[in-house]
């Protein structure tokens, strides 16, 4: 019983982390058709900003508040300078963002001297429920992820801005004819996606510590999630992320860990073979 509760919590919390990371990636991929290979590095930048604020002697939570803003600003500049040139050429965008990611990753690596640095949680310690110690910070991540997810969904479905974003996605030409500046919409969407990545990085850095390759593993899992969930839908990315996160955390409980790592991909590929559109194909927010 204790073990089951513990397993459920750990699987849930890792699932939440993956959802948080994939949310930004999914929004950019779905709304703009751009596969942002620098997303992992935006996560890294969020983590680095948090560490930087902390290293100045300020509280960690302040760093976590600042990180999304800083990464959003960087995302905005990147969109204006680089990404907007690639809207007509998604393959070039992949290469361009990959190069950008490489620059950011190696930049951060030299800034932190290639070291692995631990950053403390703003809420430390564990909460004992039914005899099982649950990490307070992981619990906080689950709650924050849920809030961010719901807020993002509401913005996209219930606000006029969300309507314009969806219009720009469905039919860019018609949206432009109707007086919507798709250019501005794309800039805001990309900035928002970057901010989410920054937030994800800030929240996960106490769990995984800061190192230059922090973003890479999440990037691969992220793309797998989007593929699995179905490109072009908000729910798809979230559902895909939840499935991938839960699978990669749950499988090691059942099979040998090295096998589990491969199984996640095998299951995802088999699934896509039978349902190429993904989990939530054909439905849009």
């Amino acid at each position: 019983m204790e073990s089951a509760l513990n397993a459920t919590f750990e699987v849930l919390s890792f699932g939440a982390i993956i959802v948080l990371v994939v949310l930004g990636l999914g929004i950019i991929a779905s709304m703009m058709g751009i596969f942002n290979f620098a997303h992992g590095e935006f996560v890294l930048l969020g983590a680095y900003t948090t560490y930087l604020v902390y290293s100045f002697g300020l509280p960690v939570w302040l760093g976590m508040l600042v990180a999304p803003l800083v990464v959003a600003a960087i995302g905005f500049v990147v969109e204006r300078l680089v990404i907007r040139r690639f809207y007509a050429a998604p393959v070039a965008a992949m290469l361009g963002t990959y190069a950008l990611g490489l620059v950011i990753r190696e930049g951060v690596r030299s800034l932190i001297g290639g070291l692995y640095i631990s950053v403390p949680e703003p809420i430390a310690g564990s909460l004992t429920i039914a005899g099982v110690p649950l990490s307070r910070w992981r619990l906080a991540i689950v709650i924050i992820t849920a809030v961010v997810m719901v807020a993002t969904y509401l913005v996209l479905t219930r606000t006029s801005f969300g309507l314009r974003v969806r219009a720009a996605l469905e039919n860019p030409s018609l949206a432009r004819v109707s007086g919507i500046s798709t250019n501005a919409i794309y800039a805001v969407t990309f900035t928002f996606g970057a901010a989410l990545a920054g937030l994800a990085g800030a929240l996960v850095v106490p769990v995984f510590s800061l190192f230059a390759d922090l973003g890479i593993r999440f990037l691969i899992l992220g793309f797998l999630a989007i593929m699995l969930g179905g490109i072009g839908t908000f729910e798809g990315s979230v559902a895909g992320a939840a499935v991938v996160g839960v699978l990669s955390a749950a499988l090691p409980w059942a099979v040998a860990p090295v096998l589990a790592d491969i199984l996640v991909f095998v299951i995802a590929i088999v699934f896509i073979k039978f349902r190429p559109g993904g989990l939530v194909a054909g439905r849009r927010v």
Binding site: S3, N6, A7, E10, V11, F14, E106, R109, G113, G114, L115, Y116, I117, S118, P120, S126, P133, S135, V207, F208, S209, F211, A212, D213, L214, I216, R217, S248, A249, P252, W253, A256, P257, V258, D261
Partner: protein, 410 residues
Amino acid sequence: MREETTDGRIAPTMGRRCFLQSVAWMSGAIATGVSSWSVQPDWANAAAAPIKVGIATDLTGAIAYVGNACANVAKMVVKDINNAGGILGRPIELFVTDTASTESVAVANVRRLVQRDKVDVVLGGITSSMRNAIKDVIVTRGKTLYIYPEQYEGKECTPYLFCTGPTPAQQCDQIIPWLIKNGGKRFALPSANYVWPHVVNKYARELIEKNEGEVIFEEYYPLDQVEYSATVNNIMTNNVQVVFNTIIAPGLGPFFKQLYQAGFGKRGGRLACVFYDENALNLNAPHEIEGLASCLDYYRAVTARDPASARIQALYDEQFPGKVLLAGAATGMYRGLKLWELAVREAGNLDREHVAAALDHAKISEGPGGPAEMVPGKRHCKMNMYTAVAKNGHFEIVARSEGLVDPREC
């Protein structure tokens, strides 16, 4: 070069000459190497040509902090030797090349070191896969001497390849009996899935069972895994007393953190990790690894009793005051260079056969951690070993080997 276009605008174009210039410049840059550099001796009147020492280590990539510590130590030792008049009346010129934590990059860079720069000896390589990738380039095709300075899984018996870091026998023979006495008999062996953990675990398991301990589980994980909840649960529910860890970064920090949060330390569990040195102390908050036991040839705490170690530590701190510390992963570099220096002096020349023959029985009386000597015919190094425990973010020595420990290799 600018040309006028048909609509009258001035547009930049690339002419043939400009293109050729760029190509020439770029090929020059590539040929001379952008990822390597040399430190020339500052002897104004060096009459004899310098002796060339090549350092091939990971200055960039995932384990760059270890590589940079090694490069720093090499610079310090070479400077020291040059200040004392060099070797055989000749100064030493240091050639440092980046192996970039990537074997394919490393092979090309090391080949350049051996074939173009024609160095007299190569020291470096951090992981075993790196050593295996570059040893052929150096020893077989390059006909050059190679010194590998890291703690590793043993079994490297290639001629002209000398190892100056600790082996499993040197580490496990010391720490396993200590762990059984100061931790318990129920062991877990969580490990990264590559050659070093597999070989160390095999050795450790035999020792654990010989000392009447028991291995509850031995499990291997992908190198980049960062989520260990299933493993932690396994450790907690099976009442494991000692976690003998061979998981490496990036998974190491999150794993220890999860173990701490699950209450492993609180219920008296003992963490052990034989590669954990002062540079690794950054990986976790001090309270998460309180009581972690490690076994290496050097810790900063050794300086309290050994004046030679204290002098070397002070020299390093003065020359490299940054975050990259002189720690267990870089001491093999010091030992290797000093042993090689003695061997060259004894041989009286730089001929590979002669230097290798002298290096085979070289001894130094001072080094980080104490004296060291090569075991004749084995190409491995005897050294002092220390068992240390992390207390409040620092290592405290809890046990010392009785004299130099035999590597028991080859």
